[in-house]
Symmetry: D2
Subunit: 304 residues, 4 copies
């Protein structure tokens, strides 16, 4: 049996000494002020054993990791109808590029580039009675933790500086692929990105992706085919234009966020979340990537 606690302790220790910790996102003050020295990691295995190290209990902004949760909620509502409006192919582009969108008639390449996540947000706005409340309720169910909530300051800052997302939403609208009002959809989208969790809570939220769609208390949120699809999308599109690199080095389906978090799963085995706010040139957590490489190398575990 693998001694996860020992392994993540040694990873945390070794990463403490790393000088090149990447650069903390600076486009909004709430992210810019986070301490670059933070590092946390948390694992939940299939038997609900928990392993924590470093700053695993500190809240951070989950940002784009929320796209996996909104996608899951969306699929649970409209299932494969989603794929009429969003593709499933990797983009080969940074997360906020608009160029490919144009060549494909308004169908974003996948639900994890911003344009794709905005279409998902549009669908949730259409189908949820009280979109922001209902989405939070979904996360509370997944995690069994009602303390999780939006950070209104971050949501506001995102809105004040979110010109590229406003551009993307308007471009989608010009193609008829955004049914609700741009402001309403982006208000939802900026809120979903502003959710704060710690490594442990986020590991709980991702438990369904390693456990056939079932929550820790046994409730089913996605069927096995839907889980396969979400995991496949994480693997092929979860790290912007570094998805291939992550699959290649780490070998787990996962999703990163500009707040420095990475959530990943090994189906049937465990959920792991790392957090370190310094980002590499591609926008993914520098130490988070390293930690997950070490974890899968030391345990010889991966989906491959």
């Amino acid at each position: 049996m693998i001694d996860y606690q020992n392994i993540i302790n040694s990873i945390t220790t070794s990463l403490k000494r790393v000088d090149d910790r990447g650069i903390v996102a600076s486009y909004i003050p709430e992210l810019a002020s986070v301490d670059v020295n933070k590092f946390g990691i948390h694992i939940v295995d299939a038997d609900l054993n928990r392993f924590s190290s470093g700053d695993a209990n500190e809240l951070f902004s989950i940002q784009s990791i929320s796209k996996v949760l909104s996608l899951s909620k969306c699929i649970s509502i409209i299932d494969n109808d989603l794929w009429k409006r969003v593709g499933v192919e990797p983009s080969g582009d940074p997360f906020n590029h608009l160029s490919l969108l144009e060549f494909e008639n308004g169908i974003p390449r996948n639900p994890f580039i911003n344009a794709g996540a905005i279409v998902v947000a549009d669908i949730l706005v259409s189908h949820l009675k009280n979109p922001k409340e209902d989405f939070l309720a979904f996360i509370h169910e997944l995690t069994n933790d009602t303390s999780i909530t939006y950070n209104e300051k971050i949501a506001q800052s995102e809105k004040d500086t979110g010109f590229r997302n406003i551009a993307a939403a308007n471009l989608l609208k010009s193609y008829g692929n955004l049914l609700n009002d741009v402001d309403t959809v982006l208000d939802f989208y900026f809120h979903q990105c502003s959710i704060e969790m710690n490594c442990e809570q986020l590991s709980d939220a991702f438990f369904i992706f390693m456990n056939h769609g079932n929550c820790q208390n046994g409730k089913t949120f996605l069927n096995i085919n839907q889980v396969k699809r979400v995991n496949a999308l994480m693997l092929t599109c979860g790290f912007y234009d570094e998805a291939g690199e992550f699959a290649f080095e780490v070998g787990l389906p996962g999703k990163s966020g500009v707040g420095g978090g990475i959530a990943a799963v090994l189906p049937n085995e465990f959920t792991v979340v790392t957090w370190s706010p310094g980002l590499n040139a591609k926008g993914n957590s520098e130490l988070g990537m390293k930690a997950l490489e070490q974890l899968t190398t030391q345990t010889s575990q991966s989906i491959f």
Copy 2:
């Protein structure tokens, strides 16, 4: 225990009735003349049980599937040095596009687009004493079958019509990313693509990718990290601009060829090869894709 024989029999039966079988590749006469009604499937599991159905013993041109084998040989020689000359990211483009190559200074995006496979071929030409003989010997070792060989007629036809590949090789040369003579490298490349195998032989050749780098007779060709990388590349880049779709629908690392073959693996469980020469619009076997979707859906098996 899963009754693979029963499942593949029923898949073969159901696909017999399908009208839309795709279109057989027609750019060279040797491929154009293959009967579109052919369909074969073969599975080898981890215990060396074998399951066959349809035309599983008929030879076909493995074409781009050979890129996985040349990549493996290459990695077994120079390991991670390869990644200085070839990337690991999906391209989002058809297999024979040259455009992305230009934007990235002569480094092909991955080893499964033609330009990347030509760089791999260049490396093998540099390192193998008798490139064509030695590569065949490698395949004989993998399969324990010395009857496997090149189809000289196909190699010649590829050469006669391979203007895009000649273009790619010269473009690589202009960037200094092709060290040998263009003609020599392409002669090797066209030969590797011309290899003929049947579903059973190809299942044997891919056995190492599901078995931690070890052949059926126990010999080790790749270490566990190298296998992870090859499988990750198959998953993210193995189906041209349909890689996301295959991961999403099938959920196995795999590689297709224009001859209508698809080889895929479920690590620790099985290797599967399908063959049906009709291709879909993206250049992947129409019925092969369908067969593998049905297989993973019916068995509820996938890496996700």
Copy 3:
């Protein structure tokens, strides 16, 4: 001496019989309802002789032709400082594409693609006391005709459907290349595009481009270098991705609009404006292009 009246009469007659008149722009009702059978042409020569034929006195929406006038006003204020924020190269793309913008760090390729014209509008909003009033006053001066004004209904319709322009403005804002508020700039931009003139009035407005920057009453608006630049931009960028075709077939600097107008000049010789609302596949007036080809071919006149 060339008998312009006779030539344009025969052109008007021959174009009456043309069946393929292109398709009237339909994205806003005010344009969609224009009669496709309209055709007008007007010439003013250097000696202020005037030649009219067809519907030359009917008002139409000048749309993108206004970009030449806003550019001229902008140059008359900040001269070459403009080129720090907008390029001078043809784009090879349709007028409303955003893709190239992204690859060049927020500097639109030229002032006649929408993104470039929006930057010009931003500059006018910064420098004019009452932007909309002052810009109209400029046009009144050029034409000596104070009846010319905005069509508020068109401006409103443009705003209601202008998602791509809103996207472009926000993208510019994300690059720091839009200094004023998006709504304010676009309000100005949508108004400038909504101006209505007839062929005669527009010929007068363009008189400065064939007359070294001097208006008919002798007042100077641009110096000779500035005129050279505006004319060069019209020639290389005035017809979206059909600029080469227009230079090649017609050989005059000119600018088209989606309302079906084309204004062109032969320096030192004449200004010509055509109007026919049916557009070809590239968004330029089908019969206007034909009329100008015939005019320059029959008179053997062009800048080349």
Copy 4:
């Protein structure tokens, strides 16, 4: 009357003092060894007056300037049939990019990017009895100077390093837009680029473009429509991705070559050729561009 001699003398003097002379092309030894301090200029006006300054009588490699001459020969043979195989739009790309070619099904955007010039060469190879001899004879006729010839050493060096051109030719072949053998076409193409002339000879060769298609001895090579087209193409496509800049700053149709030459015309007025081997970042002669800017500014002459 304009005192061209005085003006070009003062330009030559002022450019002598310029420190930033650009960088001499270094991809083949024959170009790399040219003295960066060279500068020559020659003007022939419509009355056959000649004005020379600097190194106007020294031979240099005309390189891409030859594309205007091969285009003219081609048009004189097949006229508008050429445009079925080559476009007339600016590319917005460097001269040796292959990417746009791919998006437009093998039709190069214009005859002055390399792929387009290779199609022109293919047509000449098809139509000329002895392509190399006949093309040289054409230039001898234009210039009335039989001393002009190929530089075999340069032609050979181009061939030895011309991997991008070999790539382009093969890509054209893959699209069916190259009818002759790749080697034969490129042998012609590399030879045409290797022609050496001095500023005076090249001014003579370009005389037809300012004189309605008529040579100095009165012989007609192109009709007035054909001249319009060649001049339009020079203006919109003659300076790679700096065509807009040249039109904007200089305002004359012209063509540059990597050997440091620029040939330009003011229809009905003069032909001018400059030569200075140092190139700017876009591959155009640094001092040649400057000289022509000064010439047209000081004389207030341009097509605009």
